[in-house]
């Protein structure tokens, strides 16, 4: 029964630094630790500004801090890239379309490469 990643790893990173939720809230510019608690309990998703602030606090890329969320979005983008590839295949084979197809194929292949590296 394989699991997917957790939506975020904010709690473990905060605990590693020995910071309290109130202290992280102060660093984020939030009023209290309640908001931090909601992020850590996966009740609320942070805004882009907050995600970048977290990246600055924990010195780790947002895609790593929000692993599950990133994974979910990546899957959606790959599915859309495949659909767009299918649509582009029916268009005239111009130089622009060939370049586009290559970019879309790379997006679709990036996830398969990651899956191979993990297993």
């Amino acid at each position: 029964m394989p699991s997917t990643q957790l939506p975020n790893y904010l709690r473990s990173n905060r605990k590693c630094l020995g910071l309290s939720q109130d202290e992280v809230a102060f660093l984020l510019g939030a009023q209290s630790g309640a908001k931090v608690s909601r992020y850590e309990r996966f009740v609320r998703e942070p805004s882009l500004a907050t995600a970048l602030a977290y990246e600055a606090i924990f010195q780790k890329p947002a895609s790593e801090l929000f692993g599950g969320l990133y994974q979910k979005m990546e899957q959606k983008v790959v599915a859309r890239a495949k659909a767009l590839t299918y649509r582009t295949d029916y268009q005239k084979p111009t130089r622009e379309n060939t370049q586009k197809l290559q970019a879309l194929t790379d997006i679709a292949a990036s996830q398969s490469k990651k899956a191979l590296n993990l297993s």
Partner: protein
Amino acid sequence: MSQIHPKYLRILAIAPSTRGFGFAVLEEEETLVDWGVKSVEGDKNTRCLAKLKEIIAHYGPDVMVLQDPSRKGSRCSARIRTLTRRMIALGSSHKVSVKLFSRDEVRQTYFTGGAGTKHALAEILAKRFPAELGFRLPPKRRPWMSEDYRMAIFDAVALALAGQRSIE
């Protein structure tokens, strides 16, 4: 599409103690996702189970690891034996596979010959996870001192790693 990351097997280890229980959530060998002690008062077993239910709902573990209190040599109290049985039932009801390890089996994972003190085991774990557990390592217990509550975290992490090795 949802089964592309088979390595994110999540293990939840529980180490019941006098004040509640220590817990550790492990994902891959080197990633400690969460750890800590849940303290309860009053009806300890019922409250411990309520807290465990919250943890299971939050992390959705694939495997739950506990110390087997029914093995020969176990010195668990009657309350902790009952609590462990109820925790196993709770895990099964949430479709979490439950693994039990005796104290000796856990020690054999870390010490050649299986002999070593609890503090030595905690030191090994603190070295393995310096950022996570380094500053939580309690001072060595003297004969007149009672056990530090933080030792439950180290017991849980030791169980989690033993559980993970048995799966590999």
